[in-house]
């Protein structure tokens, strides 16, 4: 188990390192980093001190090391669009909003998708199963930004039940979370269904029934415990697409999270903030994958003991 976790952590760190390389190289792609990272009206003094701080007169690999050392300390320079703000600090301020939305989206997808997938597998070939599969197909083909807009149209404009945009009460979070979760529900339900179908055919399920275990316990205890590993595999991907979803959906709902900041920063050509957002996203993503690995250890005794 220890070895398993060490391998996972080190490969996460490696991937993170690659991201810093990409981000670093991109800031040099656009020409001089001075143009990308300093305001257009910067004075010669500002430019000189900037060049010194980031080692821009050094060879490229040394510049990268300087960048990396600064990055590890969370120093990405100051924002151009929001003057005086530390880039990473500004991003971190917005992080709770994004995590709140993402967490709610994950909760919604799991609460709906697991029972749906399980019911589809248990009542294979029934109306429930066909309905779930139709829903999954439709959900996986629906652009989430469009769904977000349609949800506003129906629930805010037409029915007047929920606020159109912004952050504040819990009601504000419902529509964006549903819009993010929609796709995940389809994918997760589909995956749960096929995993459950496989497990329900297993000999140990037969043995549980032979022991006199009730059908409910057979499904929710014996089968789900084994089938759960497959949706868990998907959880890593889930984290990624919820992250992607949050960039889009935060824009639709003007939800002031990291995704919203990212786009505002791109529009304002605020490269320090963009760098900080990308690294912050990557770290969140790696951490959530690590969390999934820990869940694996809990669910699968073969990893725990191995």
């Amino acid at each position: 188990m220890f070895r398993f976790l060490v391998t996972r952590i080190s490969s996460s760190l490696f991937a993170l390192l690659i991201i810093t390389v990409i981000v670093f190289l991109l800031s040099h792609l656009s020409g001089s980093p001075v143009d990308a990272l300093l305001p257009d009206d910067a004075t010669q003094e500002q430019i000189d001190s900037f060049v010194r701080e980031w080692g821009l007169d050094q060879p490229l690999w040394q510049q990268y090391l300087t960048f990396l050392v600064n990055a590890v300390q969370g120093n990405f320079g100051t924002s151009l669009k929001w003057p005086g703000e530390d880039a990473m600090g500004f991003v971190l301020d917005r992080m709770p909003a994004t995590l709140k939305l993402g967490g709610l989206a994950i909760l919604i997808s799991v609460v709906i998708a697991l029972p749906l997938g399980i019911a589809a597998a248990v009542y294979r070939g029934s109306a429930v199963d066909h309905g779930a599969q139709m829903f999954a197909l439709l959900g996986q083909s629906m652009p989430n930004f469009w769904l977000g807009i349609i949800l506003i149209w129906v629930f805010s404009v037409w029915l007047g039940w929920l606020p159109t945009s912004g952050m504040g009460t819990f009601a504000h979070a419902i529509l964006p979370a549903v819009a993010i979760a929609w796709f995940q529900v389809s994918a997760l339900a589909r995956l749960t269904r096929s995993a459950m179908l496989e497990v329900l055919d297993a000999e140990y399920i037969k043995l549980a029934r032979v022991k006199g275990v009730s059908e409910g316990m057979v499904v929710w205890k014996h089968a789900l415990r084994n089938a759960a590993v497959v949706p868990l595999t998907y959880f890593g991907i889930l984290a990624a697409s919820i992250l992607t979803g949050s960039v889009v959906i935060e824009t639709v709902y003007s939800w002031p999270g990291m995704g919203w900041v990212a786009l505002e920063a791109i529009r304002g050509r605020d490269f320090p903030v963009v760098q900080a957002v990308i690294i912050a996203y990557a770290v969140v993503y790696m951490l959530s994958n690590l969390f999934v690995d820990l869940l694996y250890v809990v669910v699968d005794p073969r990893i725990r003991r191995g």
Partner: protein, 330 residues
């Protein structure tokens, strides 16, 4: 044991299982009659696809949902009709009165739970008690199936045990609630020959200790001769011969039984090649007139292809019966 003492423990009368498909329905279990007495071991022999496992699963009423159902007949346990029980009453019978050992030890234990959890689950369902004693009773069950160091093995996951050890653990689950009868569905097929012999010895010892009945399903007549007092031979969903093992072994009445016995390797005095049975049984959906074994039978006459032979006594006392025109004609 030979003489039937009083009422049988398990009595199956005219049991028929139907499978309905788009291509029509067929009967993997077709009019079965047999019984098992307390302390007795009954063997059910036949090739794969002959309906042995279907018979076993229908006894605990766990046929695959939607696909198969019991069409008619009666199954009584100690005089109580099982087919009339509600599903929740039937659940109380499963595991506590009728236990089962499944074919493949590699897959019949749940990989996500420890051996102990899986034994005590059965215990808890059928005679609950405090957690501590549950654990002790589970250890006890493991000790009974001769698992070394049961206090440690109880916390092991199935993946940490050898094949033979796993099958013993399955056995421990089966005996944990002191069932009256254990149905063992080819429990040794996937085990090594030596492990297999140990396991059979264990079953016999457990039976002597507890007085339970065993219904042993196999395709190997050698094991039957070794373990069972009486045997039922199945072919294509029908019982073609049944009776005391020693008599059938010495003097098989049905050509199929004869062929099965000839397929058992003898340790000494083996002359010539081991015999195998030529041909294949008919497909379940085939329309079969006459005796289903006729196309493979070396004694088949024209009558065998036209009419299904009735089940008749093969000897004077009525314990040995067979379903073959050669016996009818005797």
């Amino acid at each position: 044991m030979r003489d039937i003492q009083g009422e049988p423990l398990l009595k199956v009368t005219d049991l028929t299982v139907e499978i309905s498909t788009k291509a029509g329905s067929f009967f993997p279990v077709n009019g079965h009659n047999f019984s098992v007495h307390a302390g007795e071991t009954l063997g059910i022999v036949g090739e794969s696809g002959s309906g042995k496992s279907m018979t076993a699963m229908s006894l605990v009423r766990l046929l695959p949902k939607h696909a198969a159902h019991i069409r008619s007949g009666s199954i009584t346990l100690n005089g109580r009709e099982l087919l009339g029980l509600s599903e929740s009453e039937m659940r109380k019978v499963r595991g506590s009165e009728i236990a089962m050992i499944l074919q493949d030890p590699q897959t019949s234990l749940n990989p996500a739970f420890t051996v102990g959890e899986q034994i005590s689950e059965a215990l808890r369902l059928h005679n609950p008690g405090p957690r501590r004693t549950l654990r002790e009773r589970a250890i006890d069950a493991l000790r009974k199936v001769k698992v070394a160091a049961p206090e440690h093995r109880i916390d092991a996951y199935p993946c940490e045990l050898s094949g033979g050890m796993r099958q013993r653990a399955v056995g421990a689950i089966a005996i944990s609630c002191q069932p009256k009868i254990i149905i063992a569905d080819e429990p040794t097929t996937s085990l090594d020959v030596t492990v297999q012999a140990q396991y059979l010895r264990l079953l016999r010892e457990l039976q002597e200790e507890t007085g339970m009945a065993i219904l042993f399903i196999t395709h190997d007549f050698g094991i039957v001769a070794n373990l069972c007092q009486r045997v039922v031979v199945m072919y294509y969903g029908r019982i073609v011969e049944s009776g005391p093992v020693d008599r059938i072994f010495a003097n098989p009445a049905h050509p199929y039984t004869e062929a099965l016995i000839a397929a058992v390797p003898k340790l000494r005095g083996q002359k010539g090649r081991l015999r195998t049975i030529e041909g294949q049984p008919p497909a379940p959906t085939d329309v079969v007139e006459g005796c289903p074994f006729a196309p493979r039978c070396e004694y088949a006459e024209s009558r065998c292809f036209k009419e299904l032979p009735p089940t008749v006594n093969a000897d004077s006392d009525g314990e040995h019966t067979a379903s073959c025109w050669r016996v009818v004609g005797r």
